[in-house]
């Protein structure tokens, strides 16, 4: 495979399509967006991830033009758009509630934006047909929104917002109303459409799995601030804080203090009467500094006997087993009271499982399995 990696954010030559410069948005005295700076590049699929109320919708509404930032500038293709009204912006938004016009047919809904610009009737026809084909809605063109299913409505909303070929498409929790299976199908459909049309997508979601699936980069937000922006695998493998590690997927956090013991290697004192742990990190830590070791459950091995040559091994008792079908998560209580989660694939039938409740087991992981975090 010699496909060029899509990483415009690593290319200093590349100019961002969207540039948020020190944006602050206050509602009264409440700070919804707090001095936020981000860049979004052309053809990106940029996901905003964060808990409810952290300001995702507000950020998106500022891009669409429905909210004005209290401070800061927003550049779209190099131009300040803060004072441009929504109807003059080269962005389109797919609303959380879809906001389909109930009095218009699917066809007219999709044509709505096109009719607002000076476009020949034949061209509008062609464009609407194209959008219907893209979203596989041809048979439903004459129906009204209330005569189609939730998944179809979602596709109409997408087709309508894509019809004007915006530079940036904003999707606010587009799959919130869909059930899990339909969600997954739609995620791939979205990625497919994004690739086909080459539009830059910005998607808001509070579903981390969804963000990981679709996004080229994920921005994790909290309290109006961006905590980390990185590719999904970087976010998962090298979170920059306990907050991000905890927010994305399942994680074990062990608190301790560091002592350097070689190049990029640290020993972590974490409990009295327990051997220190070892972890690698290219972030510098000073001796005696407080730290958090974050380890994903699937990187923790579970064995009946003490494993041989391994950097970290601790003994504990199985407290709980969560059976998830293909895998099981074992909750193991260490003598210190700390509970560590370890995941193992269920390669055997459940009746022949090697460990059960109250069994004493060994947990082990390598020095590179965890991430050492300062906060």
């Amino acid at each position: 495979m010699t496909t060029l990696k899509f990483e415009p954010w690593n290319d200093p030559q590349e100019k961002p399509l969207i540039h948020f410069q020190n944006i602050t948005k206050r509602f009264g005295s409440f700070v919804a967006i707090d001095n936020l700076t981000i860049d979004i590049y052309e053809r990106e699929f940029y996901a905003l991830l964060g808990p409810s109320g952290c300001g995702k919708t507000t950020l998106m509404r500022m891009l669409a033009g429905f909210e004005t930032p209290t401070e800061g500038t927003i550049l779209l293709a190099g131009q300040d758009i803060v004072s441009v009204p929504p109807n003059k912006r080269a962005t389109n938004m797919m609303f959380q509630s879809y906001a389909l016009f109930p009095h218009l047919s699917i066809w007219e809904n999709i044509a709505f934006g096109l009719k607002r610009q000076a476009m020949a009737k034949a061209d509008i026809n062609d464009r609407v047909e194209e959008m219907l084909r893209l979203t596989r809605l041809e048979q439903f063109a004459r129906r009204k929104p209330h005569q189609i299913s939730g998944g179809q409505r979602q596709r109409v909303a997408l087709a309508r917002s894509l019809a004007k070929a915006p530079k940036l498409l904003l999707l606010d929790e587009p799959m919130g109303a869909l059930d899990k299976k339909l969600r997954q199908e739609t995620q791939f459909e979205l990625m497919d459409i994004q690739e086909k049309t080459g539009t830059t997508f910005m998607i808001v979601t509070h579903d981390q799995e969804e963000a990981m699936t679709v996004a080229s980069r994920v921005a994790v937000m909290d309290h109006g601030q961006i905590i980390q922006v990185a590719t999904p695998d970087r976010i998962y493998e090298t979170p920059n804080s306990v907050y991000v590690a905890d927010f994305i997927g399942d994680v074990n956090i062990i608190q301790g203090t560091t002592t350097a013991n070689g190049k990029d290697s640290y020993s972590i004192a974490w409990a009295d009467a327990q051997a220190p742990l070892t972890a690698n990190s290219n972030q510098p830590f000073s001796d005696g500094q407080k730290c958090h070791l974050a380890i994903r459950p699937e990187k923790v091995a579970i064995t009946a006997d003490r494993p041989g040559e391994v950097a970290n091994a601790v003994q504990g008792k199985i407290l709980d087993i969560a059976y998830l079908g293909n895998i099981s998560t074992y909750h193991v209580e260490l003598p210190t009271g700390v509970v560590i989660k370890a995941q193992a694939a269920n390669t055997r039938r459940i009746s022949r499982r090697s460990y059960t409740w109250e069994d004493t087991v060994w947990l082990s992981w390598t020095a590179t399995a965890g991430v050492l975090l300062a906060n």
């Binding site: 669409a64 929504p86 389109n92």
Partner: protein, 293 residues
Amino acid sequence: MRRFLLIAPPYAWLLLLFLTPFAIVVKISLSDIALAIPPYVPKFSWDEGIWAYLNQLDFENFIFLTQDNLYWKAYLSSFKIAAISTALTLLVGYPIAYGMTRVPSEWRPTLMMLVILPFWTSFLIRVYAWMGILSNEGYLNQLLLWTGIIDTPLTILNTNTAVYIGIVYTYLPFMILPIYSALERLDDSLIEAAEDLGCSRLTAFWLVTIPLSKTGIIAGCFLVFIPALGEFVIPSLLGGSNSLMIGKVLWEEFFSNRDWPVASAVAVILLLLLVIPIVLFQRNQQNQQEADQ
């Protein structure tokens, strides 16, 4: 059986309070005027039997209505006045209803209250109050003279203008309430979606808000038009002799001329004319209910 019990009361109500009086009015309209109590013949008597009685009824009065210009002119003029006042009520009522949905929601019950408040006083007293406002020496003229906008009093009372003012004032709540309820259900994100797709505020209003409040507008218009068409108190108190409305003609036939048969014929025709807008109104309500589901 339960179904029957459930629908029986409204039908009994309808039969008792609408169809029976209507049948009596139809019967009188087919009779002849007479100096008697009640002032019409024939009277039903058991001796002569039902056939002899029915044979004496005829359509004379209805034919009379077509012969005297007064009646069709009154119908036409009522229609015109009702139509114009309905349009004016819509022009005044829509912005009020729209404004009510734009204020913070904790204000809405208060505003709603203010809209309904006039109903707490007698309708007649309120119309009399308008006489005091609109007459040549009335408050309106005094105010305009005092501010120097005019130097001779305007003649408003006893003109059609006063009738329009009276109808708009009286029926405004009937226009506001259905429009308000339609606008209140309107999702704000639809307007934002329209703007996002390239509409200015005004086009978004025209292309989204108006069509989506259509059922409210239609309901409001019928609720004003139907009673305004047969309105009697407002034209007789505010319109004086200058305004010709069928409700007033009806009243005069009954009480001044004591010609009950002709008055009844006028009423029957008015009712038949009203059936059309009432049926249309029902259709509109039904469509809305279907759309809501």
